[in-house]
């Protein structure tokens, strides 16, 4: 019982922290290029090619924020649609 409560508490805190980070720092470093925006080249002389995963920015939107943006867009479109329909 106590374990469940503790676990729930910890989960809640972690979730809150994640939500906070989605607001305050919505971008994280790209996993593929480690936030550099381009791939490390094999040979030193050759120019490195840009990372396509993060479109060379080195940053990716957090999953939570991506989800949230999607939800909001859907909601907004629905509201706009309803307005037009009326």
């Amino acid at each position: 019982m106590r374990g469940t409560i503790t676990a729930t508490g910890i989960l809640l805190v972690v979730l809150l922290a994640y939500a906070g980070s989605c607001i305050i720092r919505p971008f994280r470093d790209c996993w593929l290029c480690d936030g550099r925006g381009h791939h490390r080249s094999k040979r030193k002389s050759k120019l490195s090619r840009p990372c396509r995963w993060c479109k060379a920015s080195g940053k990716r939107l957090r999953f939570g924020r991506r989800l949230w943006n999607r939800v909001r867009r859907v909601h907004r479109d629905a509201a706009a649609g309803a307005r037009i329909a009326r």
Partner: protein, 671 residues
């Protein structure tokens, strides 16, 4: 000049256009040095009006003490509840404060919306740029926060080293906790409960006044038309004073007439709203609104109730207060007063305040006659040289004797004043304070009070004539006549008397007619309306004219103990009764006297001759009587003014036949 040629068939008319306008205003003049040094602009007083007089200060202190005491007890009983609330709100407040400090330090609010937008659009480049800007702003802020923390630490350590007593630490902690609770409470939920349930009237605002005046419908259309000259709305005594100008030619009396409407528009009781005509021009209103209705405000202490009070009838003495609780004073010397009001209006007490002023002047003789018979002035009887009470023949004839005495005294005093003037002691031909105080001068002030005087005038019509003469002549001679009555119509109190009396104090009356009978024709229309007072509730309130600025005055109303103390003090000041009782003058019958002075063979006498002969016949009674007075007095018996032949001329006078006819009529009526 414009010419307009108009062509007709064969004629030619030249019509000249009218010349319109032209400068009528004089050119503006430059301000000269003389203008500056002769400026008489009203300066604002240094001490606020609410603190200027001792009574107002006392009232303020009393109110503050009462209010403070109540508030303290109220909160003390609720302190456990407050403690519980603080326990909840303080941690919240602490969290809120620290969070907002950190949020500020990291620059959280710096272009927050823009960054969120960038995130929503999945635009990492913009976001990074914006975030770099935030970082830049934030860098300096961390230094500030750090410095603040260091300073706080330094203060705490410093206080610790300096040996702050534990009380200090507790106080600091309590202060911090309360501060935290203040920030932690919801905006609509104060920690302490309200002391007063109803939102009491606390402040008069320009908006309120403007809205109320527009609502009156007296011609003010726009709220902006009403202007407030400096100093604007301010505290004055226990209330607020708004001085404002009405637009155009709207006069202030319009507002005064609809005082009820004004009170309704302000949502206040009528006796809390006191409009007056302002000092600068007829379109200016001084609207005073009390913190409380005057019926609930009580009255400041009467200066004459003091242990060392002593008055002089030659100096202003307070006898009442105005709506703003300021004392209203009067100089009794050279003054006759008419007090009118319906039963229950507090008439006798109003008269009593004036009698008190006279009583506390140890040189002043008192003669009081009261024709109600309830002994309102019984306690003052030992101070009076003559005192009568009742509606019986004895009291009424005493009243008449008092007036007859006063008339004869006027005659005697006239002689004395003349001699004093010759000696240079009475430069203006009237009693001076020195003469009044001089023993044996025979010119000491005399205060005559006749309450319910209409009883006397109905019983003895000639008393009214004598009273009129006393009112006219006695002023300069130190004889003060105060008449109080509940009926002031022409049959009970002849208009001649009302005309002679300058100071009129009209307490609660039933209607406009009664109001104007006491205050004079047109008083009601000018806004002097004593009809607003209700008998009993507003006892003592009245409108006074002829004593400085006309307005509302409420007479002082000492409690029985204070009244007794005042009388005791007056007795002690005097030592003995001033003056002597009146001699009982035999009642004279003017019709009989007129017939007696008619010489055999005369068909009639002109009024002037009749007046002279009457004065010879009974100097005590008729000295100073004029032809007009004789005519008016005899007209009451039905003696007409007719032509009387003197030599070859015809003069107006009384004919023997009319006198005889009047006598016969009276005899028939008596049967």
């Amino acid at each position: 000049m414009t010419t307009l040629p108009i062509e007709y068939d064969d004629e030619r008319h030249v019509i000249e256009a009218d010349k319109v306008g032209g400068a009528v205003d004089p050119a503006d003049r430059r301000t000269t040095f003389a203008d500056v040094v002769t400026r008489t602009d009203a300066r604002r007083p240094i001490v606020p009006a609410a603190l200027r007089n001792p009574d107002a200060r006392r009232a303020l202190v009393r109110w503050s003490a009462g209010y403070g005491g109540h508030t303290a007890l109220y909160h003390l009983t609720r302190s456990p509840k407050y403690a519980a609330k603080v326990a909840v709100y303080a941690p919240r407040g602490a969290w809120r404060v620290s969070a907002s400090v950190i949020w500020w330090a990291v620059g959280g609010r710096e272009n927050f919306q823009l960054r969120q937008e960038a995130a929503s659009k999945n635009d990492p480049h913009t976001w990074q740029q914006l975030d770099r800007r935030r970082e830049k702003a934030s860098a300096a802020r961390w230094w500030v926060v750090g410095a603040g923390l260091v300073l706080l630490l330094a203060v705490v350590v410093g206080a610790g080293l300096a040996g702050m007593p534990p009380v200090g630490w507790y106080a600091a902690v309590v202060g911090l906790v309360l501060l935290a609770a203040h920030y932690g409470r919801p905006a609509d939920r104060p920690i302490v409960d309200r002391v007063t349930t109803k939102a009491a009237f606390t402040k008069l605002t320009g908006e309120m006044v403007r809205a109320a005046v527009v609502a009156l419908g007296i011609g003010v259309k726009e709220p902006g038309q009403i202007t407030f000259p400096p100093p604007g709305i301010h505290k004055d005594g226990p209330g607020w004073l708004a001085r404002f100008n009405l637009p155009g030619a709207i006069v202030a009396t319009k507002v005064l007439e609809s005082r009820d409407g004004l009170a309704a528009a302000l949502r206040l009781p009528v006796d809390q709203v006191w409009p007056e005509v302002g000092p600068d021009h007829p379109g200016q209103v001084d609207l005073w609104v009390g913190y409380q209705p005057s019926s609930k405000m009580g009255q400041p202490r009467w200066a004459l109730a003091g242990d060392t009070a002593r008055t002089s009838i030659f100096e202003p003495q307070p006898f009442g207060t105005d709506a703003r609780q300021r004392p209203v004073s009067t100089v009794l010397f050279e003054r006759n007063v008419l007090i009118g009001g319906q039963p229950g209006s507090g008439k006798s007490y109003a008269a009593r305040t004036l009698a008190t002023i006279a009583a506390l002047d140890p040189t002043c003789e008192l003669k009081i006659a009261e024709f109600k018979g309830t002994g309102d002035f019984l306690d003052m009887a030992p101070l009076c040289s003559t005192y009568a009470c009742g509606v019986d023949d004895e009291a009424l004839s005493t009243g008449r004797d008092v007036i007859a005495w006063a008339l004869a005294e006027c005659e005697r005093r006239g002689e004395r004043i003349k001699r004093a003037r010759e000696r240079g002691e009475a430069p203006l031909g009237k009693v001076t304070p020195e003469l009044a105080a001089k023993r044996g001068s025979g010119l000491h002030p005399v205060f005559i009070l006749l309450d319910e005087v209409h009883e006397l005038f109905l019983a003895y019509p000639d008393a009214a004539d004598m009273a009129e003469r006393v009112a006219k002549r006695g002023r300069a001679l130190g004889i003060i006549l105060v008449l109080a009555t509940q009926i002031a119509d022409r049959d009970s109190v002849p208009p001649n008397i009302t005309r002679c009396v300058v100071t009129r104090w009209c307490l609660s009356v039933g209607g406009q007619v009664e109001n104007d009978m006491i205050l004079g024709t047109g008083a009601y229309k000018r806004g002097l309306t004593a009809t607003v007072y209700q008998p009993g509730v507003d006892a003592g309130w009245g409108v006074i004219t002829g004593n400085g600025k006309a307005g509302s005055v409420r007479s002082f109303f000492p409690d029985p103990k204070t009244a007794a103390a005042i009388v005791a003090r007056a007795a002690q000041l005097r030592g003995q009764v001033i003056g002597e009782d009146v001699e009982r003058v035999e009642a004279r019958d003017m019709l009989a006297d007129a017939r007696a002075v008619l010489r055999p063979g005369e068909a009639g006498v002109p009024w002037a001759v009749l007046a002279e002969r009457l004065a010879e016949l009974a100097p005590d009674m008729y000295t100073g009587i004029t032809a007009d007075m004789v005519r008016e007095s005899l007209a009451r018996y039905g003696v007409d003014s007719m032509d009387v032949k003197v030599g070859r001329k015809n003069l107006k006078g009384a004919r023997r036949t009319s006198l005889e006819a009047a006598q016969q009529r009276r005899e028939i009526e008596a049967e």
